[in-house]
């Protein structure tokens, strides 16, 4: 089995080398195929090594075991998913990001506020904000409201910093043009500054997706009802049911990637004009 793993590794790598060197290397299909082969190889090696070396379940379960557990406890995983992701993370994400956007628009109107808030915002964005989780759990109780609160605090400052930076993105020339049109604040905001800020805003939105999931899961380590992904992970670790832990991690990974992918998709639609979204070589 171990020998098989080495063989598969060699085979997968060889195929990828051929694909990368081949004449279709710039083709869209090949660019998706190569990482897919790499991923499948890794999972196969994992499976073979775990079986071949007889690694006990409490250290590392094989992918097949995880898949079985995943399939057999869909109800439980769905309950955890809706508790942690749909209620905690998404609720906090929406509140936090819209609050940050609102504050960014206010801050942008005042030079003084911008000077003062931006350094503070930058500073706070670099801090270990997950640490506020115990405090917020104490204030808002064990249910999803406290998780959403942690998420709000976590996404607020990265979002604010990005949005404020984005709203400053227009050049003096463009603003002057708007002035010569006698555009009101609202007109120049919606026609010029907001579109110009969109790439930055989406950058903030994308960073925040990961932060939202982290916040919602970590907050559950400090107390939660008997449902939720963080709760399930910490109790399953206690019971050494590592297949369950891995199933939750698969859910988290899928949710995180889907969330991020969704944001990138909306970004592509909304900022199709931006150089980074244009097709072709660069």
């Amino acid at each position: 089995m171990v020998f098989g793993a080495v063989l598969i590794w060699g085979l997968g790598w060889w195929v990828n080398v051929q694909l990368a060197k081949g004449s279709f290397a710039d083709h869209r299909g090949v660019q998706l195929l190569v990482p897919a082969i790499f991923g499948v190889t890794l999972v196969l090696i994992w499976e073979l090594l775990v079986r071949g070396l007889e690694v006990p379940l409490v250290i590392l379960p094989a992918p097949s075991v995880i898949a079985l557990r995943f399939g057999s406890s869909l109800d439980l995983l769905w309950a955890d998913f809706s508790q942690t992701i749909l209620k905690g993370a998404l609720g906090g994400y929406v509140i936090g990001c819209s609050a940050a956007l609102g504050v960014a628009v206010l801050v942008d109107r005042s030079e003084f506020l911008r000077r003062g808030l931006l350094p503070v915002g930058n500073f706070v964005a670099a801090l270990p904000i997950v640490g506020t989780a115990p405090i917020l759990v104490m204030w808002f109780g064990f249910d999803w409201q406290s998780k959403a609160a942690v998420v709000v605090v976590m996404v607020f400052f990265p979002m604010l910093v990005n949005a404020v930076a984005g709203l400053r993105e227009t050049s003096a020339l463009q603003r002057d043009l708007m002035q010569t049109y006698a555009a009101s604040y609202g007109q120049s905001f919606f026609k010029l500054r907001l579109p110009a800020a969109l790439p930055f805003i989406f950058n903030g939105l994308k960073i925040s997706t990961t932060l939202a999931l982290i916040g919602a899961i970590v907050a559950e380590f400090f107390g939660s009802p008997t449902v939720g992904m963080g709760f399930r992970i910490s109790t399953s670790v206690g019971q050494l049911a590592l297949d369950m832990v891995w199933a939750e991690i698969v859910v988290a990974a899928l949710a995180g990637s889907a969330f991020y992918g969704l944001m990138s998709l909306i970004e592509k639609q909304a900022t199709f004009w931006h150089p980074s979204q244009r097709r072709g070589r660069n």
Binding site: A20, L127, I135, F221, I233, V237, L240, L242, V245
Partner: protein, 305 residues
């Protein structure tokens, strides 16, 4: 100068809001306390007070407002309480004492730095590989980006338990989580940096008949420095978060994470806030240190402004 003034104003406003917020947050606890002391409180039973709104309580019991900033276990401690606790536990206590924040800080810091060193080392190596090998680029880079979207921290408790079951404990499990978190920012930033020389510069080296190694040492590596430092700053903050979160699930006995956890178990809010601020100071210090190094190194290289 103008910026400093604005920043100070914003901070002053935040502190003022904080003090004001203490009043409605703490009023119930204060009223319970003064009632036990024999004072007359307007809704008389604690049960009636539980349903009353905090602002109504403040208006009806204005005499108790002075107390809200000096409660022993407040829901929201006042800034000066946190500052006093910080001073007491960081400066007054002996460093070897278990209640000294410096002691806990050292535990967290050592895990952070070890993880940061492992993570950035591996990250730079992988980035070099990705830049020089097209296969690695095509097969690993998409996964590196996808893995950014996964809440890696969810893995923390498992990593610790698994390592414990094979006999590794102490510093290393936390450092591994830190390394994991600081790894990907470095890979992504470093790949960008190593690719930052433009075609003209690469062509110039080509005309010199420079080998790949020479091109790496004389062009790519120096060109990547600004990118490297930008991602190192993100990475060290992430490493600190990793170390703190790594201390949570084990019920660790030392470190900022352990302080947070113990504080939340025993309702010691002041302790939680002081640990939080200590962690914030540590993060700010580490980032500032890297910023200083960045300025020095870039200046030596003739790139600083």
């Amino acid at each position: 100068m103008k910026t400093l003034f604005s920043v100070l104003t914003v901070i002053a406003v935040i502190v003022a809001v904080w003090y004001a917020a203490c009043v409605p947050m703490n009023i119930k606890g204060v009223l319970d306390q003064v009632e036990r002391g024999g004072a007359v409180v307007v809704p008389e039973t604690p049960k009636a007070r539980r349903d009353a709104s905090a602002f109504g309580l403040v208006v009806n019991n204005a005499f108790a407002i002075a107390e809200v900033w000096s409660v022993e276990r407040p829901r929201l401690p006042a800034p000066h309480q946190v500052a006093v606790e910080l001073w007491n536990t960081a400066v007054e206590k002996k460093i070897s004492s278990k209640r000294s924040l410096i002691y806990h800080g050292k535990v967290t810091l050592s895990a952070t730095l070890l993880g940061f060193a492992i993570g950035t080392g591996l990250g730079i190596l992988l980035a070099v590989g990705i830049v020089h090998s097209k296969v690695m680029d095509m097969s690993i880079m998409p996964w590196a980006i996808v893995s950014q979207t996964i809440p890696i921290i969810a893995l923390a408790p498992m990593i610790i338990v698994v390592l414990y079951s094979i006999g590794v404990q102490g510093l290393l499990p936390k450092a591994i989580i830190s390394a994991y978190l600081s790894f990907f920012p470095v890979v992504v930033g470093m790949v960008k940096g190593l690719r930052s020389p433009d075609a003209m510069q690469l062509d110039l080296l080509h005309t010199y008949h420079a080998s790949a190694a020479q091109g790496f040492w004389t062009l790519r590596l120096p060109a990547s420095m600004p990118y490297l430092f930008a991602s190192l700053k993100i990475a060290i903050a992430a490493a600190l978060v990793g170390a703190i979160v790594g201390e949570l699930p084990t019920g660790a006995v030392a470190g900022f994470g352990a302080r947070l956890l113990a504080g939340s178990y025993y309702g010691q809010t002041v302790q939680i806030w002081s640990a939080l601020f200590a962690a914030a100071l540590l993060a700010a210090g580490l980032v500032a240190l890297l910023g200083l190094m960045e300025r020095q190194i870039l200046k030596r290289m003739g790139e600083g402004s």
